[in-house]
Subunit: 234 residues, 2 copies
């Protein structure tokens, strides 16, 4: 049976202090919880498993076992595997969008805006549980519901960035959207690379480095109404 897709892949760093046998915390089966708390705990367990193994390799048995319950309980809280995944996906898409919008609104200095946005991506990627994998590295993009969510959050982030660009450069919307997609793309890709090659560069240094790259790039466009320090094009 070569078809076994076992993937005991690196799993990055989780809780850290893991005792020998159990993975993180296997609770004694039999604790009764109110429904809301149980649901919350199930979401947490599902996130851990989905992040560590991906959607397809994650079995409902694994999630149930991780949560310390049995499968029927899982199905009493969520109609199916996809719904569980979508609940988590929505949650973290919303978190990313909020982080980006907050960063953009945190100042009116465009260079600081770039810094803040870049740092938002880094913070998002570094956030506990590695939940960014659900958004940026999903293995269920063929499912229309997932595709729609991922595309939508990317588009909304780009639109938020694009508004600032269009306002400060006067570029037409298609071009500012292209630049916005570029900026968001750099942030996401570099943040993920920085996380994967851990312990190389401190986060602030990486943010500053790529921020200077992006800022020099974006500040050179016409009509940029910042503090007037932008170098003109050739």
């Amino acid at each position: 049976m070569a078809g076994a897709v076992n993937t005991v892949h690196g799993t990055t760093h989780l809780g850290g202090g893991v005792t020998a046998i159990e993975q993180t915390e296997a609770r004694p089966r039999g604790t009764r919880l109110p429904r809301r708390a149980r649901r919350h705990q199930l979401l947490g367990a599902a996130q851990e498993v989905f992040v560590a193994q991906g959607y397809h390799a994650a079995a409902m048995d694994d999630i149930a076992e991780r949560a310390g319950v049995s499968k029927p309980v899982l199905y009493q809280h969520f109609p199916g595997k996809l719904d569980l995944y979508l609940a988590l996906l929505d949650q973290h898409c919303e978190a990313l969008l909020q982080a980006v919008r907050t960063a953009l609104a945190s100042t009116t200095d465009n260079k600081l805006r770039v810094t803040a946005t870049m740092d938002a991506y880094f913070a998002y990627v570094e956030a506990e549980g590695g939940a960014f994998r659900l958004v940026f590295e999903s293995d269920l993009t063929n499912e229309p519901a997932v595709r729609e969510r991922v595309d939508r959050v990317s588009l909304q982030c780009a639109e938020a960035i694009s508004e600032v660009i269009a306002e400060d450069t006067g570029l037409p919307s298609e071009q500012s959207m292209l630049l916005a997609v570029a900026l968001g793309g750099v942030s996401q890709v570099v943040a993920r690379y920085w996380l994967s090659s851990e312990s190389d560069i401190p986060r602030d240094t990486a943010v500053q480095l790529v921020t200077s790259l992006a800022w020099r790039g974006i500040a050179g466009f016409p009509l940029h109404g910042a503090d007037g320090q932008g170098p003109e094009a050739d």
Copy 2:
């Protein structure tokens, strides 16, 4: 709705009148091909199905039907589904790496290098069959073999770019790698966005736009030994 083609025993092979050149439709079953041609055709059919449906949703039956053969012949050419996928993946990873290296070596003017590299990504993404999805949007990243290949090609592309950056800026390797990952990331993300939102901007315009963004960004770093037009850092 696959039941269309059933027993066609009566059809003598190469009847002459059969036009049999249908790229996207199932061909009449019963044509005998030499092994090398058959393998090539199987790879083409598999690529179409994998690109259109993703790895998991693609069934071996679909690939066989698309190629106009039955499943056993598929398994006589490839040991399993994963091997088939890896063959395609290796092929297109190699193509991307070659394209990037060729673009980097096409000139010594760094601005033209950026343009050429950017255009290489756009051309790669636009290439027929949408094979870039196997590399950039794979839904099998949890499989270690796939993960290894995807990571490796990204790293090799970044290293190729990083060499140029390090040589022309004098930055330490970690920082030049970070910038190289950034440039490769922009190229990839923007090219995919440009492809998905088709008919908005012509390819040359998009390439020029994001090239100017990237060039302004990268040209500002110290010791950049290009034509000496780089604006000084603040």
